[in-house]
């Protein structure tokens, strides 16, 4: 039987993590399913496990110096209901799974699990969010979510580190656009999702951020294409949409799996980007 740890505080948790490298377990919504065994018997974790969901140091949502801080142990429900969490993330979280699961699941767990179909991760990538990683003796680093997740189930997390906070820089945007295409209308996993926002200033696209989830091993976002869009006058954008879609068509290379097909994912992702770009200049927004 594998070892199990239940630290009393974060310091203790970091000590244990440093010494025994257990799998950190937050809400359990991924790991309890992934390693489930026959009803009535223990989950078959591949190594020692450390429960950290209860740690007080990892709870809460706050705003400070232009950023929103979300504790690793904060549940998806708490995020969904928070007024200070950026709208795009709230919209993404609201459509994840179902109420009971959102009462357990955490954002940090979602990031750590690094599922290509993780809707929250897609929103975090668009929001330029970072994770704060801590280790013993005050060890800290902050890594962009986009860089932190390196592939399906793969992250930059070192075996002595824990995700402690998610940091989201606040940014003024003209409008946000979140669209999940799930396997059904609720309690569904994503076939793909589009997270995007745009800032328009004096009729010119001041900033734009577009990310597509579940169409590749990690969230797809291209700063290069975004740079090409930035600086255009809103009314001129329509002429360029076709070229932009062609650019995205090169980098969106999804796979076939049990939930959808490569062809569908790609076509719908491009349709959704096109639809979003088409909304710019038509939607009402604060310039």
């Amino acid at each position: 039987m594998v070892n199990t740890y239940y630290p009393g505080n974060l310091e203790e948790a970091l000590e244990i993590r440093n010494q025994h490298h257990p799998i950190p377990l937050m809400g359990g919504t991924d790991l309890m399913v992934k390693y489930r065994s026959w009803a009535g018997s223990l989950p078959e974790f591949p190594g020692p496990v450390m429960y950290i969901n209860h740690l007080k140091e990892l709870q809460g949502i706050s705003k400070n110096a232009g950023s929103v801080y979300i504790g690793a142990g904060t549940t998806l429900s708490e995020i969904e209901k928070s007024r200070i969490v950026p709208l795009l993330l709230r919209e993404a979280v609201e459509e994840m799974a179902a109420p009971a699961l959102r009462n357990l699941g955490t954002l940090a767990g979602n990031i750590g699990n690094a599922s290509p179909a993780g809707d929250a991760v897609c929103a975090l990538v668009v929001l330029d969010a970072s994770v704060k990683l801590e280790s013993i003796h005050g060890g800290k680093r902050v890594v962009k979510v986009e860089d932190f997740i390196t592939g399906p189930g793969k992250t930059e997390l070192k075996n002595n580190e824990l995700i402690t906070w998610i940091i989201i820089p606040q940014k003024e945007v003209s409008f946000v656009n979140y669209r999940k295409v799930g396997t059904r209308k609720a309690n569904a996993l994503s076939k793909l999702s589009l997270c995007s926002d745009v800032k328009i200033k004096n009729g010119i696209i001041d900033d734009i951020r577009i990310a597509v989830g579940a169409v590749g091993p990690t969230v797809v976002r291209s700063r290069i294409i975004e740079e090409r869009i930035i600086g255009n006058r809103v009314e001129e954008l329509s002429k360029k949409i076709r070229a932009i879609i062609e650019d995205y068509s090169v980098i969106i290379v999804p796979i076939d799996d049990q939930r959808s097909t490569s062809a569908y994912r790609k076509q719908v992702a491009l349709n959704l980007i096109q639809q979003f770009l088409g909304r710019i200049g038509k939607e009402e927004y604060i310039d």
Partner: protein, 157 residues
Amino acid sequence: MSKIHFTLNGKEMEVDVHPSKRLLDVLRDTLAQTSVKEGCGEGECGACSVLKDGLLVNSCMVPMAAVEGTEITSLEGYRNTDKGKCLIEAFADTGAVQCGFCTPGMVMAAEALLSENPAPDEKEIRRGLSGNLCRCTGYDMIIKGVMLAAERGKGLW
């Protein structure tokens, strides 16, 4: 942690189980709470729904370690409350029950919904119950059951 402490339906409990054991198994096998059903064991169907500190959770996803110091409510406790009786009666009166395997979880999900929103409309009920699968009813009568309970139970929630 050798023993886990929590309250079940208001009663203090101390159980000597592995912290990775699922709350679902402890409720069913150790504490005889057989209203809590296993429909999938992967958090998709909601048949194992219970309340943890008043919030709806899938007990198949909750390791006992996460139960330490919490309040758990199962249908075995909830059915004896005024709210519980109101919901059960309303489900019976609207035809919300067929094979019944999903029903205990549905009742708990309805409680979680009504405690947050005592007068939900159809859309809100559909959203509140969206994590609880039923294969018999097509849901219409379950939704009517929740509406009837909300109407009859004015002031309860």
